[in-house]
Structures are given as structure tokens and as C-alpha cells.
Amino acid sequence: MNLAAQINSIFAALVLLTAFGMLVQRRMNGLIHLFAWQGLFLSASTAIVGYFASVHHLFVSSALTLGLKVVLLPYILHVLIRKLKIEKEVETIVNIPMTMLFGIALVIFCYHLTAPVRELSTLMTRSTLAVALATVMLGLLMMITRRHAVTQIIGFLAMENGLFFAATSATYGMPLVVELGVALDILIAAFIFGIFFFHIHETFDSLNVEKMARLKEED
């Protein structure tokens, strides 16, 4: 294993660690910080791959992640939770050890799922694809197990982080036009969930989405 791959795998490990951290973090502030850290690790990893593999459009992707996921989105989230006065809010999470075990199982599952890619790929980043998919899945798990609107959004954004990471790991990034488009979509999504937080808070007097239970199928 050469140096570049080794550095990259350390960043991959850190991305995975932050993904797990978010899964069990109760405090809103801590959650947003973890998300920003994950973005930072992702951006660093992308830049390193770009440098060692001399794929220059990865620098754009790295800068995009840095600007969007490390600076802009955490800033927006901070402003939002301060405006909604929920920055001190502590979410109740049931059964953290179970969630963790399930998360570990998901990582193993992802490892097996990406095995064919690992075998066929010749890139130095091939081993991190499993971590990328695991990040996506952990974001998904977070959205399922958590009941707070802000948390669900952070889970959603963490999934996007995983997807960017997957693109870097599998193919040294998608074509630039696609990455820019995806970033644009995330930006629009940020705008929309910002509006949503206010609507939900206004209507339900809380950002706990458990209060939204009108539209269940009555049996």
C-alpha cells in the first residue's frame, strides 16, 4: 500500500467515525460540528486523491465540498437553529447501543456489496468505496432512527457526503458538470429545508417530526 492510499484510508476512517458520531450525537450544536468535520475530512481526502492521481477537476470538487459542506451549510444550520432557539436542544434517542450495532452490521454489508467493484478497480482509492457506501447507509439509518427535522436533514446531507466520496473512490469523481449540478441541487435543497424549518416550527410548535402523524393509514 503506497503513501497516498494510506493517507486516503486514514481520511476514510475519519469520515466513517464522524458518520457514527452523528448517528449517536444528541446535541444539535455537536451534530452540526460533526457534520462540518466530516465535510472537512472529505474535502481533504478528495484533494489528496486529486493531487496524487493528478486528476485536476477533483480540486474543484474538493473546493466545492469545502465551501458548501464545511462553511456554508453548517453556517446556515447554525443560523437557523439560533433563530428557532433550538441550539441547546437535546434529542432523546432510544437505544443507542442497538443503533451502533446495526450501524456496524451495515458497514459489513456495504463491504460485501462493493466487493465486485474492488476486484475490478485499479484505482488506489478502491478500498474506500465500501466506506463511502457505508456513509450513505449510515445517513439513511440516521434519518430513519431520528425524529428531529434538523437531524433528518443532517442525515440527508451526510448521505450526499457519502455519495461524493463514492464518486471519488470509484471513478476519481463524476464528470465536472454532474458534480456542479449535484452541488446546485444541494444548495436548492438547503434553501427549501430552511423554509421548511420555519413552516414546521410555526405549525407544530416544535421540530420533532413525530408530531406529524396526521397522514397515517387508518386501519
Binding site: A167, A170, G181, D185, T203
Partner: protein, 495 residues
């Protein structure tokens, strides 16, 4: 199948440009026009221009064959141009319908000043996103446009700002976001496989390039990619068990939005899925992808038809009916073969026309009674013959009675099923039968009988309902030569 680049006429198409610029431009203009009096008319004009361009493009393709435009950025063949025409047509009729409908909502104070501005601009943006989905040559752009289509409708679903509407929109946002993320992972895997054959760079994600090298793509990777794409785009198609956003979003948003979501967005997602399926089938040389689609389709038909029985909300019921019909189309595409594919294409068309027409009448019926609860909607024929009869004909068409078009498509699909997968025929028939019973049982008391005291009269939008239902009837009785030839071409692309 052979879709090498040489087959495409390359060049800039004015029609294609207009087709994409008309809705995009309208969106910007309408964002500035806002709640002025002429906004609905502008909305109709924009949509009409889009439809005109769609027809123009279709004629171009019909006479000159498939083409590439904008430096390989866009491509048009028989399959996507037919959906583009359908999209622009249904969006035009919806724009006509929404003029009367939204004016009334505005008068009743359900939508505010800002809401109307937002509604018109986002409606056009949504049409633009769907057309971009259809016409782009790049699998990545397809994903981006699909996400854009979701994002532009999320806030339309919550337009009324009621607790249920916000809940529905949140669900829509979160579930579709989750789903579509899986599709992006699938796209990454697809790119991984394509890159090995086509080399690095954006070229490897072009449909036209991929189609030519389908058999060289790594089958294991493509099978894996298809699972993710299936889950991702399947969420947007509204396939069971990832359909939970659909009934909520359809029932809580404004009716014109329900009509375009049901009639158009689901089709677009299915389009993406079918394109991927063709690619994967060529690569794996097996029926792997088709079987997955058949499974999801059949499950959707059964679950949706049973759910139809339990509904109390009229828009919710028809939302489940949409799930059922998308299930039928998915099943048929999965089945493959020329008859089933032809049937599926026809089914997409017929379902779009019929379901949007039904939503128009349903919207008016709900406005007349001030509720969407079916127990409170009574005496529609006496109250307003157009709404009453429109709904009767619409439901007759949607349950697959002759002589309407859906009968033809469902008949074709059934025939193909009996031939290729006879053991599945009873399940399919069971789903269709239950849906039939559920819908007829629910709709009959709503249309017949005396007018209830709380019913208020209104002027419905005649043109869209009559236009759409006539089309469904005519196409059921007589299939014009050019349309049939067109479908045959599309079937040829998908085999």
C-alpha cells in the same frame, strides 16, 4: 439493437431549444409577474408554446429520425420525444385547468399573494426539469434534473400550509431525497463500469455512447448498479414498498399539482428506470433487471388495489390508483417483448391523459363540497353535469373498461403475460379486479343521487376535461397509423 452515434442526425434543433427555453423562460417571467391578473394566461401561453415546440420536435424526429443536439448534450429518439409531447400536452391542459381552479382557491383565501407567484413560477420550473430529464443525453444530468423536479414541487405540495400539507411535503422531501440518493450511487457504479470501456471524462455517461457498448459493460457491476437505480427511481415512480410519500403528496397539494405529479412525474421516473433496464439487460444478457421490475410492479398492483378499498379521501384514493397503474407499466416493461413493451408505452400515455382528467374533475368536486372526504361528496351529476359525467367517464376509463384506451393497453399487457408468464396472470387479474370494484363502489354514490345542501355551484374548466377524455376515447377506438408506427419504433429501441 444498435444505436451508434452514426445513426443520429447531429445538429442544433430550434424546436428543442424552444421546448426547453419556453418553460424555463416562463418560470422566470412568472416569478416577476407574480399575482397579477394576467399570470394564469401567461402560464397557459408558456405551456402552449412548450407544447407547440414539442409537436414540432416530434415531427422533426418522425421525418428525420433520432438526433443529437447541443454537442451531444441532448438527444431525441422515438421513446423520449413521445414522452416529451405527452408532458408538454398534459402540462398545457393543466395550466388551462389551474386558471379557474387556482382563482377560486385564491378567492377563498387558501393561497396568498406570495403563494400564487410561487405556484406559477414553480409549475413552469417543474415542467422544465421534467423535459430536461427526458431530453438530456447524460445520465448524471438526468439525476440532477430529477432531483430538481422533486425540489420544485416540494414547496408546492405544502402550498396550503395546513399541518397535513406540511407533513406531506416533508415526507415527500425526505423520502424522495433518500431514494434519489440511492439512484446517484447507482449512477456512480454505472459510470465506473462505463469508464472502463469508454474512457474517462463526460463521454462515458452519455446514453448514446452507453447504448453502443452495452454488451462490453461489466455485468456484475451493472446488476449491482441496477439494484440501486431501481430503488432510487422506483421511489419516484411510487412503487411499493417505497411509495409512502405518494398518497400524501397527491392528496395534500393543490389539485393541478396532483395532476402533474401523477400524470407526468411518475412517467419520467419510469422513463429513467426503463432506459437503465435496457442497458443492464444488454450487459448481463439475462432477464435479471426485468425480473426485479416485474416483482416491484406486481407488488405495487396488489398492495395498491387493496389499499384502494380503505380510502376515505378522494385524492388519496386516486393516488393509490396511480401506484397501481405505474405498477402495471413497470410490470409490463419488466416482462419485455414487443407486445408487453408496446402495451406499457400505450399504458403510460393513456394513464397520463386519464388520470390528469380525473384529477381535474376531482378538484372541482372537492371545491364544490369544501372537502375531499368521499362520504361528504354527493350528487355530482345533479350539481354539475360536466364534473359528474367527467368523473364517471374518467373512472370507467381508468378501471379499464372498453372502449377507452386503457382497455387496449391492459389487454395487450394481459395477453403478453398469458404468453410469457402465465402463472402470474391470476395475480394481475386479481389486482385489476379489486381496483375495479373499489373504484366503482366509491364513485357511484358520489355521482348519483340528489344534491346535498352544502354543495355550492361553480364554473368548472370545461376544455381540459373534455379534450383529454375525447382523446382517451378516440385512441381507444382508433389508433392512427403514425402513432402506431411511432410506438413500434420506440419498442424497437427498448428491446
Amino acid at each position: 439493437m444498435d444505436l451508434s452515434v452514426g445513426e443520429y442526425a447531429v445538429g442544433a434543433s430550434t424546436m428543442l431549444l424552444i421546448l426547453l427555453l419556453a418553460p424555463f423562460g416562463s418560470a422566470i417571467i412568472l416569478a416577476f409577474v407574480g399575482d397579477r391578473k394576467l399570470a394564469p394566461e401567461l402560464n397557459i401561453i408558456g405551456s402552449a408554446a412548450t407544447f407547440g415546440a414539442g409537436v414540432g420536435l416530434a415531427l422533426e424526429v418522425y421525418f428525420r429520425g433520432p438526433m443529437l443536439a447541443g454537442g451531444k448534450f441532448f438527444f431525441v429518439d422515438a421513446f423520449n420525444v413521445y414522452l416529451a409531447v405527452l408532458t408538454s400536452f398534459v402540462s398545457m391542459t393543466t395550466a388551462v385547468f389551474s386558471r379557474r381552479y387556482m382563482r377560486r382557491e385564491r378567492e377563498h383565501g387558501r393561497v396568498g399573494h406570495l403563494g400564487m407567484r410561487f405556484y406559477h413560477a414553480m409549475f413552469q420550473l417543474f415542467i422544465f426539469a421534467m423535459l430536461l430529464c427526458l431530453l438530456t443525453n447524460n445520465v448524471g444530468i438526468l439525476w440532477i434534473a430529477m432531483e430538481l423536479a422533486t425540489l420544485s414541487t416540494v414547496l408546492l405540495v405544502s402550498l396550503y400550509r395546513t399541518p397535513s400539507a406540511i407533513e406531506a411535503a416533508w415526507k415527500y422531501f425526505i423520502l424522495c431525497g433518500v431514494g434519489i440518493a440511492q439512484a446517484l450511487f447507482g449512477t456512480v457504479l454505472l459510470y465506473f463500469a462505463a469508464e472502463k470501456v469508454l474512457g474517462e471524462g463526460g463521454e462515458a455517461l452519455l446514453w448514446t455512447n452507453l447504448a453502443g457498448v452495452g454488451d462490453k459493460l461489466e455485468p456484475t457491476i451493472l446488476s449491482l448498479a441496477f439494484v440501486f437505480l431501481m430503488v432510487g427511481y422506483g421511489t419516484k415512480v411510487g412503487l411499493v414498498p417505497i411509495h409512502h410519500w405518494l398518497p400524501d403528496a397527491h392528496s395534500e397539494g393543490p389539485t393541478p399539482i396532483s395532476a402533474v405529479l401523477s400524470g407526468l412525474l411518475l412517467n419520467i421516473a419510469l422513463y429513467a428506470l426503463v432506459r437503465c433496464k435496457v442497458l443492464v439487460d444488454v450487459s448481463t444478457g439475462s432477464h435479471h433487471a426485468g425480473s426485479i421490475m416485474m416483482g416491484f410492479g406486481l407488488l405495487s398492483i396488489i398492495v395498491a388495489s387493496f389499499s384502494l378499498l380503505r380510502q376515505k379521501d378522494i385524492k388519496r384514493m386516486f393516488a393509490y390508483s396511480s401506484i397501481e397503474h405505474m405498477g402495471i407499466a413497470t410490470f409490463a416493461f419488466g416482462l419485455g417483448g414487443s407486445v408487453a413493451t408496446y402495451g406499457a408505452l400505450l399504458h403510460m400515455l393513456m394513464h397520463s391523459l386519464t388520470k390528469s382528467s380525473i384529477f381535474f374533475t376531482v378538484g372541482h368536486a372537492a371545491q364544490m363540497h369544501g372537502t375531499q372526504e368521499m362520504d361528504r361528496i354527493r350528487g355530482l351529476i345533479k350539481g354539475n353535469p360536466l364534473v359528474g359525467w367527467g368523473m364517471i367517464f374518467g373512472v370507467m376509463a381508468i378501471v379499464g373498461l372498453p372502449p377507452f384506451g386503457i382497455f387496449t393497453s391492459e389487454f395487450l399487457i394481459l395477453t403478453a403475460t398469458i404468453k410469457d408468464a402465465p402463472y402470474l396472470t391470476p395475480l394481475l387479474l386479481l389486482g385489476l379486479g379489486i381496483a375495479f370494484a373499489a373504484l366503482v363502489r366509491r364513485v357511484q354514490p358520489m355521482v348519483a343521487g340528489p344534491r346535498p345542501s352544502y354543495q355550492v355551484g361553480m364554473k368548472p374548466a370545461h376544455v381540459p376535461v373534455i379534450l383529454l377524455m375525447t382523446l382517451v376515447l378516440v385512441l381507444g377506438l382508433y389508433m392512427p397509423q403514425f402513432l402506431s408506427a411511432w410506438f413500434d419504433k420506440a419498442v424497437g429501441l427498448l428491446r
